[in-house]
Subunit: 309 residues, 2 copies
């Protein structure tokens, strides 16, 4: 074989290898050094306060994506918004827990079919450990499908799936259901190696393939960060953002009577916290910083439509 | 037979007859001319706004009774209040409809067992006609029992049963279920001949016995009354109250963002309406009028404990 032929062969093999190892930003058509960021509001549907603040932040602030809790009382309000605003980047915040003290919701499924997911009041459990200890994969899959189908019935065209309180990331079995549903409905699901490994002790790479979308960096304020001040935390996040696909998870709501009552006795991710998130991501300072740091905002819809449809 | 014996016999017969024909105020140990009144707040549990305004009106205003919607999202909040305030006069506002546009609830029962009560979103129908056309008595009884048992499970000791939007008064069949449940749980149910006859076209007297409690006069503001002003309407009601057992049905809530969003596109019984109800029944003018008109406030609890237990 001639030298040039060998070189060509090597190049072809290398191209093949590198093709598979392309960064997510390259797969999406951006340069390797691009800092892609999704600024994502969780918990839409949980309350009127959350809905109205999140819609404001989507329309006027730097928030460019959000996800909806289908089993929650205010779901019909955000579903009406989603169905009349088809360009809004809205996915489903799949939900198997009902964590607040005096304000509860239950399943979308016929409850008799997924009774393992419910406490004796007929509501979801208030924490993920109780969920994992009492339910099974069949119930989880049935209820997640019910939530997706309910969303479609209400005119939502989901751009992505993620999970409330990480409920569906909690075990390898649940995670596989989430990945399967994402493939089936052709939407990206929120996956991140670090979160899977350190929070949920699941090795993500066992369950994904080349077509799945993995977020390089998932960023969310902790109670420690909140205590030090949200502007400082988020400014630090934006200034230290690296090339690749990052996602900030926040919770936007107005700190009003309704939201204080929803989050009563729970300052972490509570009403004032959500107002602080709202304040930063609707500020001019945030917009300026995004420009200065040459951050490219990207939606789940762009990712879905470029890579999965 | 001697004349005195005949007279005695007649007296005994008359006493027997009059015994059965005793007025409700006499059965309760009051003089015949007593104007007994229950000032009753409906819809507790529907929202945080409704809960907090109704609790304020019960504790500080002239409202002396209320009833709780078990299937609603804010039920756990009012249940916690009821269970820690056992002297509060709280009954169950049995609920088979979910009438608001963007804020919904479904059944307490395992939904598969009462699917006739639900629309395709898995919520209750938004009006009583749809309920009657699509459901059956078995489903109605099952769901009402689930609501009662859920209330007991949450520590509520109900003083009475009534019905949201009159859902359980709508047919003779439903009405009989309500009466049966009242007898079984030994609580009075809200019954009124006029409302039954003119609104629901059901002849109440076919279904009740001497032990059942019937309210002589049921009073609730109409959209016409609201337009003319609530203070004028309620002042008229209090000034023209007759001896017997009367019951004013009102809806107290704060006219805030949450309540405006709950009642969107529905001014009748809407947010401002509920604030107007709250304003009148927490006013000094109302208290003064009750005193001036020699109205005796009575709770469902007093009625329950004197006549049914």
């Amino acid at each position: 074989m001639k030298r040039t032929a060998i070189t060509s062969l090597c190049l072809m093999i290398l191209t093949g290898v590198f093709g598979q190892n392309k960064t997510i930003q390259e797969r999406l058509g951006y340069a390797k050094e691009t800092k892609l960021l999704i600024i994502h509001a969780d918990d839409l549907g949980v309350s009127h306060s959350e809905n109205s603040a999140s819609i404001y932040a989507l329309e006027n602030g730097s928030v460019n994506s959000g996800s909806i809790m289908v089993p929650c009382p205010w779901f019909p309000e955000i579903a009406a918004y989603a169905s009349t605003h088809p360009t809004a980047d809205l996915g489903l915040h799949l939900t198997l827990t009902s964590e607040w003290k005096f304000y509860k919701w239950g399943p979308v499924s016929l409850a008799g079919e997924i009774s393992g997911l419910l406490n004796e009041g007929g509501f979801f459990n208030d924490n993920v450990t109780a969920l994992v200890n009492n339910s099974n994969a069949q119930d989880v899959e049935k209820e997640l499908r019910s939530q997706i189908e309910q969303a479609l019935r209400f005119g939502i065209n989901p751009t992505h799936f993620d999970a409330h309180m990480g409920c569906v990331f909690a075990t390898a079995e649940y995670l596989q259901i989430l990945i399967k549903l994402g493939r089936e409905y052709k939407v990206p699901v929120l996956l991140n190696r670090e979160a899977q490994k350190f929070v949920f002790k699941v090795d993500l790479d066992k369950y994904i393939n080349d077509k799945d979308v993995v977020v390089d960096k998932l960023l969310m304020a902790t109670p420690e960060d909140y205590k030090k001040g949200m502007p400082a935390f988020y400014t630090g996040v934006l200034k230290s953002l690296q090339p690749g696909l990052s996602c900030i998870l926040l919770h936007a709501a107005y700190d009003n009577e309704e939201m204080r009552a929803v989050t009563i006795d729970h300052p972490d991710y509570g009403s004032a916290w959500r107002q602080a998130d709202f304040n930063f991501f609707t500020s001019e300072a945030c917009k300026t910083l995004i420009g200065e740091e040459k951050i490219k905002l990207i939606t789940w819809k762009e990712i879905r439509d470029k890579l999965l449809r």
